[in-house]
């Protein structure tokens, strides 16, 4: 690590440095943009390549880079951040309406841009001569009672959720809420919590987590279709199978750290994906495994027949029953994951994971077998991924390799990072924001009126979340909940400030 250069203290020091940084960024952008963007070849009417110059693009890129660097430099202190964020929003809104909608109201556009620029300038001057010395590391006292109460309220809300939705929107209307929002978010909450053991606690950067999700899903799919085993038997088997693969992955990567570990786990995810695609005899390749037995209510199927769930419980048949049951099932699985993790944190193995994340050498000097410690982290994280996978399979009724791509791993990783590595509640919040956010994008039909009928907001989800990630990394680099809660205390549980907590090997 290199020591950060001393921070500029006064406006007089800050302004020239900001300008210098801006110019450097502009030069770098120019250097990069020229070979990449400036010249392009496109087929003309006669289908011959014609050289085109795109100076305006180059110019825009340079301006953007310079602007972004200037902003980033400006945004280094707290107060200015909020003002500058407001400015950024104004400016973005102005530019956005101008670009997308083509609303040629120069007054509006110019007004917002100027307002944005003014806000940025204001933010700049507020902190220009403020004390920007590094903030004192303080411990924040976490209120145990409130968080316990909140947890109970949260669980209560979740338990009531499908019933409230059913009551509010009727059987047809509530399906979207229970399935697309409820079940989908909870799957990712569970995956996030599972991966959190590996990344957040043990500090091992795993980019191939989706492999275990896939192993769980295919284990259930294969066992259920070939041997007609019930979900409740397959669920633990899927977990064990995934844990086994977790250990298998663990062994070769034991000695790897950081980038190397990340790359090997990434490759592992890809290998599993490719095996699923190409081992056609076992997995049926691209087509996947169809007609997997659906979930039953402990043996009672959710069908309209005599012996079905509805008839047994004197209800009128409705497909929503199955969805509601799936909701409670994934809720239960996610809560089991959560409570197991919370309990593990208080056990020696959990403390050893965190110690491993902080300092592996010190762990070994204290007699901790770091090999076993890492392997159990991989195995337990994988196991919860496997549970989630078999739930996925029973919910969908079919599996194919397309559900288990690298993007899925990235998505889960983003949830963990955004939530705050190691924080259970942060990960849950992040899953709600990211998965729920994607679903919400589908609802934004009114944007079509603004941007034309072809506009599909869902296509912009990566762009939006990419942007959100970048902003998060600037403002809250350690995620929503960055502080660490100690696993034990003598007098008072004080949360540990994020900058003290290690990030592990990668």
């Amino acid at each position: 690590m290199t020591a950060a250069p001393p921070r500029p203290q006064t406006l007089g020091e800050k302004l020239p440095q900001a300008l210098r940084e801006t110019i450097i960024a502009a030069l770098i952008a120019a250097g990069l943009a020229f070979p990449i963007i400036a010249l392009g070849a496109e087929p003309d009417i006669n289908n011959q390549l014609a050289l085109q110059t795109r100076w305006s693009w180059v110019f825009t890129t340079i301006l953007l880079a310079a602007g972004a660097r200037f902003l980033a430099f400006t945004l280094e202190t707290m107060r200015s951040r909020f003002v500058a964020a407001a400015g950024l929003l104004c400016a973005a809104f102005g530019l956005g309406t101008w670009y997308f909608a083509g609303v040629a109201d120069p007054l509006l556009i110019g007004g917002t841009i100027v307002a944005g620029a003014a806000a940025i300038a204001l933010g700049y001057f507020i902190d220009g001569d403020a004390d920007v010395a590094p903030k004192k590391r303080t411990t924040v006292s976490a209120q145990d009672d409130t968080s316990t109460a909140l947890a109970f309220i949260g669980i209560g809300v979740l338990v009531a959720f499908p019933l409230v939705m059913l009551f509010a929107f009727g059987e047809a209307g509530s399906l979207k809420w229970i399935n697309n929002y409820g079940v989908q978010i909870l799957i990712f909450v569970m995956l996030g919590w599972g991966l959190n053991i590996v990344i957040g606690l043990a500090g091992l950067l795993d980019l191939g987590y989706v492999a275990f999700y896939a192993v769980g899903a295919y284990t259930y799919a294969l066992l259920a279709t070939h041997f007609q085993l019930s979900f409740w038997i397959c669920l633990p088997l899927a977990g064990i199978m995934a844990a086994f693969w977790g250990v298998l992955l663990g062994f070769p990567v034991l000695r790897l750290r950081g980038d190397y570990l990340a790359i090997v786990t990434l490759a592992f995810g890809e290998i599993i994906h490719l095996v699923l695609l190409n081992w056609v005899e076992l997995t049926n390749g691209e087509a996947g495994i169809l007609s997997i037995p659906r979930i039953t209510f402990f043996g009672i199927p959710f069908t309209a027949e005599e012996n079905g769930f509805a008839a047994t419980f004197w209800l009128e048949f409705s497909p929503i029953h199955r969805t509601i049951f799936l909701f409670y099932l994934i809720l239960a699985l996610a809560l089991v994951t959560n409570f197991a993790t919370l309990r593990l944190r208080r056990l020696p193995i959990g403390r050893a994971w965190e110690a491993l994340r902080e300092d592996e050498i010190a762990c070994r000097s204290l007699g901790i077998n770091t090999t076993n410690t890492k392997l159990t982290a991989f195995a337990l994280g994988a196991m919860f991924g496997g549970f989630a996978g078999s739930f996925f399979a029973v919910r969908q009724g079919f599996v194919n390799p397309n559900s288990f791509t690298f993007m899925e791993s990235v998505w889960i990783l983003a949830i963990v990072v955004l939530g705050g590595m190691g924080s259970q509640i942060g990960v849950a919040l992040a899953a709600i924001v990211m998965v729920g956010g994607t679903e919400l994008l589908r609802e934004l039909d009114f944007l079509k009126q603004l941007f034309g009928p072809e506009f599909n907001p869902v296509q912009y989800r990566m762009l939006i979340f990419g942007l959100a990630m970048v902003l998060m990394m600037i403002w809250r680099p350690r995620g929503f909940i960055a502080t660490r809660t100690p696993s034990i205390f003598l007098k008072k549980r004080k949360a540990v400030a994020a900058d003290l907590v290690g990030e592990g090997h990668g």
Binding site: R137, P348, R351, A352, E354, S365, N369, I488, K494
Partner: protein, 302 residues
Amino acid sequence: MRWESQPLLHVEHLTMRFGGILAIDDLSFAAGRGDITALIGPNGAGKTTVFNCITGFYKPTEGRIAFARKGLASSADVAALTTTGKRHAHMPSGDIYLLERMPDFEISAKAGVARTFQNIRLFQGMTVLENLIVAQHNPLMQASGWTVLGLLGIGPYNKREREAVDKAKFWLDKINLLDRADDAAGELPYGDQRRLEIARAMCTDPVLLCLDEPAAGLNPRESADLNQLLRNLRDEHNTSVLLIEHDMSVVMQISDHVVVLDYGTKIADGTPEAIRNDPKVIAAYLGVADEEEAQAIVGGGA
């Protein structure tokens, strides 16, 4: 001379090569049970490398490191154990381990050799108390039924954890950090971090405690407290101490036995008085040309 009559550690013909660098060259010495043994020498003499060999972080290129957890490491028994090819055996003279054959974590867990680091290695983001609980990992792991029972809430884990906390409190009280138990270790001032690292090592119940420059960066008062603590470890906790130290006043005041290294070889070995007057040490130590100056440094704190 307990290092002759009651040796618990025998370093024999230890050689450590890093590529072309010969960091340790055929070094042999013994440390006595119940002694504070100081390992001194100029910068780059190879002291930390010796520690890393003893605690298993480096595999020595050549040599044998015999350690008697109980009893003493008699040369006949050590030789007998060496030929068996095993790492550990209960021999007539004592409970002997051959450290150069063991992985680092087992040296701490089984042989009972704990250490601290020249550049402090605390778990910065964990609290002071948690640091000391992590140090008791192995007994607690057993109490939690290797996690399975603990996860189900069966077995003696909760009771054992409370006992672990009591032990941590004992050591925190000893190093005057009890009221900071719930603060992050990384938040402590430097001197407190040094003492916490020693307490953490002590929580593993070591037989031999290896301290790499524990007084570095301490002010005189903290340094005096440290001397007190080390004597206390030796006298009341039956812990033998192996100490790397640059501050001669500390070395001369508290050590029972001094081993002097220079360029990876031993140039002197004896009581502090003998070392203080050893012309070889005076001539070679610290590479000081002026003999009077060397005398002043080596004889410091007398």
